[in-house]
């Protein structure tokens, strides 16, 4: 792509330009992640996955002949897709280039994440998006709702109607029905019928991954930090594009390395670094400017409460009843009830969740990340600020968009926030 010749139709030129630009951004951020100190050796496979997808423009990392199903929120249980013999790829976009394309299609106030997805869709150049046999869009927020309509005109799409409340039994039963319908659509794609054997096998797959993730979370709670926040965000972002069995092996190796590092006393940060938790709108690769900034400015990013980070695979299904229906209920339960997405009417559990994380990770400050136009997350900032005030934990709201123009502005704010924690002036 180095030689530039004016040839082909304008459409093709636009495509080439798009690919060049987006891979350049990905390369830049991968380099930044790579250059961060204290990078574990076993993190490389995760970065290779991201490079494979965003730089080399390939399909997801998976065994041969596995169809992929694009998913857009954590409410789609991956177990169901694995059970059908396919694999899920999380397609929430973080690309600045795709955002610029999508900006022309979508209304101004739509969040950049959805704009990026629409950009990818309209250009049609990314194989990981193009090769999906099915799109599964849970109707979470308004943007996702319209996105489902947009995708539905172009691709085979399933919408999953997520209940807005979770405490009533009817809500759960409703979502179980949605999952059965989703499973029927998956059967049409892969030809595999839903059965107890397939479901239990798929649950075993994800359980193995979640077992490793639980080990990883336990290691992350060590103080001082054993792995940089940006590194773990990269590792968890890589899950979106990797078959879970492969990811489990990578994670297993990473956990083993971190354990031996702890034994040797090689920690990834100094004692006195301010410990910061990041919550709010998802941080999707390559939109890693905020975690990178925190780490550059001398903060220790110890925990995240975002759905492309830890939350993406955190909740395990509690299979109480060893039958097909029992597993379906467990899946519906785990995808909606513990979810801290602010799209639900009542979300006290998110505040409790963060309170628990403050304790587990010994957090000193909270950065509340809001993507411009992400209304539901913005709504909850008020409540969060009040609660954090009671606990005496400083919190800052950081709004950003998918471009690099606001980096310097963010840098000043993040720096000031970290200084504030460091010198104990509230």
């Amino acid at each position: 792509m180095s030689e530039y010749k004016r040839q082909g139709t304008p459409e093709e030129r636009r495509r080439t330009r798009f690919l060049n630009k987006s891979s350049a951004t990905a390369v830049k951020y991968l380099r930044k992640i790579d250059e961060l100190p204290h990078k574990p050796q076993t993190l490389d496979p995760f970065l290779d996955v991201l490079r494979h997808i965003f730089v080399d423009m390939n399909d997801a990392v998976k065994p041969e002949n596995t169809p992929t199903v694009g998913t857009y929120c954590v409410m789609v249980p991956p177990e169901l897709i694995y059970a059908a013999g396919a694999m899920p790829v999380k397609l929430c976009g973080g690309s600045y280039t795709a955002f610029n394309v999508g900006d022309d299609i979508a209304p101004r106030d739509v969040c950049p994440l959805v704009k990026a997805i629409m950009g990818f869709e309209s250009i049609g150049a990314m194989p990981v998006y193009q090769k999906c046999s099915l799109m599964a869009v849970p109707i979470t927020c308004d943007c996702k709702k319209k996105l489902a309509g947009y995708l539905g005109e172009r691709r085979p799409t399933v919408t999953l109607h997520v209940p807005t409340g979770r405490d009533r039994d009817e809500d759960m039963e409703h979502y179980v029905r949605e999952l059965y319908q989703f499973s029927d659509e998956l059967t049409k794609v892969t030809g595999n019928q839903l059965s107890y054997e397939r479901l239990s096998w798929a649950c075993g797959l994800t359980a193995a991954a979640q077992y490793e993730l639980s080990r990883f979370i336990k290691l992350r709670r060590k103080a001082p930090l054993v792995i940089k926040g940006t590194h773990y965000l990269a590792a968890l972002n890589a899950l979106s594009y990797t078959h879970i069995s492969i990811w489990t092996q990578y994670m297993h190796a990473l956990c083993n390395e971190l354990e031996s590092k702890i034994r040797r006393g090689e920690m990834a940060s100094k004692e006195n670094r301010p410990r910061i938790l990041i919550t709010g709108s998802p941080l999707v690769f390559p939109n890693f400017k905020l975690p990178l900034l925190i780490e550059e400015m001398g903060g220790a990013l110890v925990a995240d409460e975002t759905c492309m980070g830890e939350r993406g695979a955190y909740d395990p299904p509690a299979i109480v009843d060893q039958s097909t229906d029992g597993i379906m209920r467990a899946l519906a339960n785990k995808s909606t009830r513990p979810c801290t997405c602010p799209t639900f009417t009542d979300n006290k559990r998110r505040i409790y969740r963060i309170m628990q994380m403050l304790e587990d990770y010994k957090v000193q400050g909270v950065i509340y990340h809001v993507l411009r136009g992400c209304l539901v997350y913005d709504y909850e900032y008020q409540v969060m600020e009040e609660e954090m005030g009671k606990l005496g934990i400083p919190i800052i709201r950081v709004e950003s968009d998918y471009n690099e123009e606001d980096v310097e502005q963010l840098r000043i704010r993040v720096e000031a926030f970290i200084e504030l924690i460091k010198y104990g002036k509230r």
Binding site: S195, S200, S323, D325, P338
Partner: protein
């Protein structure tokens, strides 16, 4: 509005029907033994010297005497039996035999009580007639009362000869009671000798031979076997109908399971659940064969669980009898009443519904049925709030029947499902009333919904009333909790508050008491909780069992690394 009125009327009809059926439970017999008197053979000791009798099939044989008279106890008094066959027994026979022979200054007597006459609260049969001057009666499995010339023999020395020939010198107390004999010693048969100045009286007290694992035991198990067969048939029919329905609706047939096998190789995780099963199996064995196994019995402890009191081999008495026969209880002496309420209160406060989750034999059977479904991977019935509310109403009706039926002349025992299980397993032939049908319902519904009967159990409800002062508590940490609802899904009693409670009564967040009267302390919620410390079972404020994420993940994570799907495909 109209629909709800109809629902209410239907429910009222159901309630009245249930009460009526419970009242006539004895007439709606499930299984009736034609001839409950058909016995096993009697043990015989020293049959060449001592007077004794045996009976085998139909015939009664006397040993060791020539001029013996055979007496039978009837409701009309002592009667002489002429023939040597059952058919010659009088119709109002009460189940006790005695044979007597006087030879100079030695009087030899043999006596036996047939097993069903050693009935639960019935005082052992005594003849107290002139023909039998010296007599013993076996009371309450704890003591013998010795009678001489129809009066209790107080403060006298009696020699007891055991089956193996050892002799014991025992003294009666002021009521004529002898204590200190092991139950198994009694079971082998023994004889009592009392000497006056010029006369010797010997009574040979005989007990029926061990009945476990004999053909007689099998015949006692017959009704329970029939119940299991009918239940299995009902379950099979249900699965078959479901398959048909799925075929019609074009749903995947694999949903019903049965032949499905588990594709996850799971790790064996030992923990609270294992302990619970061990305790359940132990208590099941003790509450059915206890006195046979250990030779002791604690008849003063009235354990409030459904362990059938018609089974005389259990280790303790069951509180369910007096609670459902309050009229009988109030006719007892006040010491009896006090001791009953005393043990009941102690049990309720110390253990509460822990008894339901760990001890109750009926609960154990339901858990076994549930585990059977788990291994067959058949879909169950998941109840929601509304159905649990209906069950709560049914529980109230059950409670009214349980407490009130004795006063109107019925007996809860004829209605009780527990009667089909434990006496049969211990080898007691018992004709079943409606209880047999109820047991089928318990087994089938317990198969599809875990611990279904516990949801309507009246005894469990009474036990749960003391949950506020009970020493076992369930504590929730609302902050650690992610409200994933796994506990609610796991709870066999459908307790929803455990998942929805976010703040304690005093505003506490970290250790909220979420114990409810329904909680049977089975620990399922803690086992299925994926968050560290979010749920804990406490005893006297100390954590006994705590939720742990790594432990939770270990139950699910397979042992082996990734293996591609290799199960057989269903077309």
């Amino acid at each position: 509005m109209k629909k709800s009125v109809i629902e209410k009327i239907l429910f009222a009809v159901f309630a009245v029907a249930l009460c009526a059926v419970a009242y006539f439970a004895a007439d709606l017999a499930f299984f009736q033994y034609d001839d409950p008197l058909k016995r096993a053979s009697l043990n015989v000791i020293n049959d060449s010297e001592e007077l004794s009798f045996t009976y085998e099939n139909d015939a009664i044989t006397l040993h060791g005497g020539d001029n013996t008279t055979l007496y039978a106890l009837t409701s009309g008094g002592t009667t002489v039996v002429e023939g040597k066959e059952y058919s010659s027994l009088p119709s109002n026979f009460l189940g006790s035999f005695a044979a007597i022979e006087t030879d100079g200054n030695v009087t030899r007597i043999a006596k036996t009580d047939m097993e069903y006459t050693q009935g639960y609260s019935a005082k052992a049969n005594v003849f107290l007639s002139e023909e039998i001057p010296f007599e013993v009666s076996y009371v309450d499995k704890e003591k013998f009362t010795v009678y001489f010339e129809s009066k209790p023999l107080a403060n006298s020395e009696v020699t007891v000869t055991l089956a193996d020939g050892t002799e014991k010198q025992l003294t009666t107390d002021e009521n004529g009671d002898i204590t200190g004999l092991d139950l198994n010693e009694v079971r082998n048969g023994l004889s009592f000798t009392y000497k006056t100045d010029n006369h010797t009286y010997t009574i040979n007290y005989q007990v029926e031979a061990d009945t476990i694992f004999t053909t007689r035991w099998l015949s006692a198990m017959l009704p329970f076997g029939i119940i299991i067969l009918i239940s299995a048939a009902c379950i099979a029919l249900d699965v078959f109908l479901r398959k048909l329905l799925y075929k019609k609706e074009k749903l995947p047939l694999g949903r019903t399971g049965v032949t499905a096998k588990d594709m996850r190789k799971k790790r064996l995780v030992l923990g609270f659940e294992t302990i619970r099963w061990v305790i359940m199996i132990l208590s099941f064995a003790l509450l059915i064969f206890g006195s046979r196994l250990t030779g002791t019995v604690f008849s003063n402890i009235e354990l409030p669980v459904f362990a059938c009191p018609y089974n005389l081999d259990q280790m303790t008495s069951a509180g369910c009898y007096y609670l459902s026969h309050l009229d009988v209880l109030f006719s007892e002496s006040w010491i009896e009443i006090l001791s009953f309420f005393g043990t009941f209160l102690v049990c309720a406060v110390l253990l509460g519904r822990v008894l339901c989750g760990f001890v109750c034999p009926l609960g154990f059977i339901q858990d076994v049925a549930h585990e059977a479904r788990q291994s067959l991977h058949i879909e169950g019935i998941s109840l929601n709030e509304r159905l649990y509310d209906v069950l709560r109403l049914v529980k109230w009706i059950m409670l009214i029947i349980f407490l009130g039926i004795g006063f109107v002349g019925g007996s809860f025992c004829d209605f009780c499902p527990a009667m089909a299980v434990s006496p049969a397993l211990a080898g007691f032939k018992l004709s079943l009333g409606l209880g047999g049908f109820v047991m089928i319902i318990v087994l089938v519904s317990g198969f599809f919904k875990r611990r279904y009967f516990c949801n309507v159990c009246p005894l469990g409800f009474i036990l749960g009333l003391t949950h506020k002062i009970s020493l076992f508590k369930l504590k929730k940490d609302a902050v650690a909790c992610t409200e994933c609802g796994a506990c609610y899904e796991a709870c066999p009693m459908g307790i929803k508050s455990i998942f929805t409670v976010r703040e304690g009564k005093k505003g506490e967040l970290r250790a909220i008491d979420v114990t409810t009267p329904d909680c049977i302390m089975c620990g399922e919620c803690v086992r299925r909780c994926p968050e560290n410390n979010a749920l804990a079972l406490t005893f006297c404020g100390k954590k006994v069992y705590n939720a742990n994420r790594m432990k939770f993940m270990k139950q699910y994570a397979p042992k082996d690394k990734y293996a591609p799907f290799s199960g057989k495909e269903k077309p």
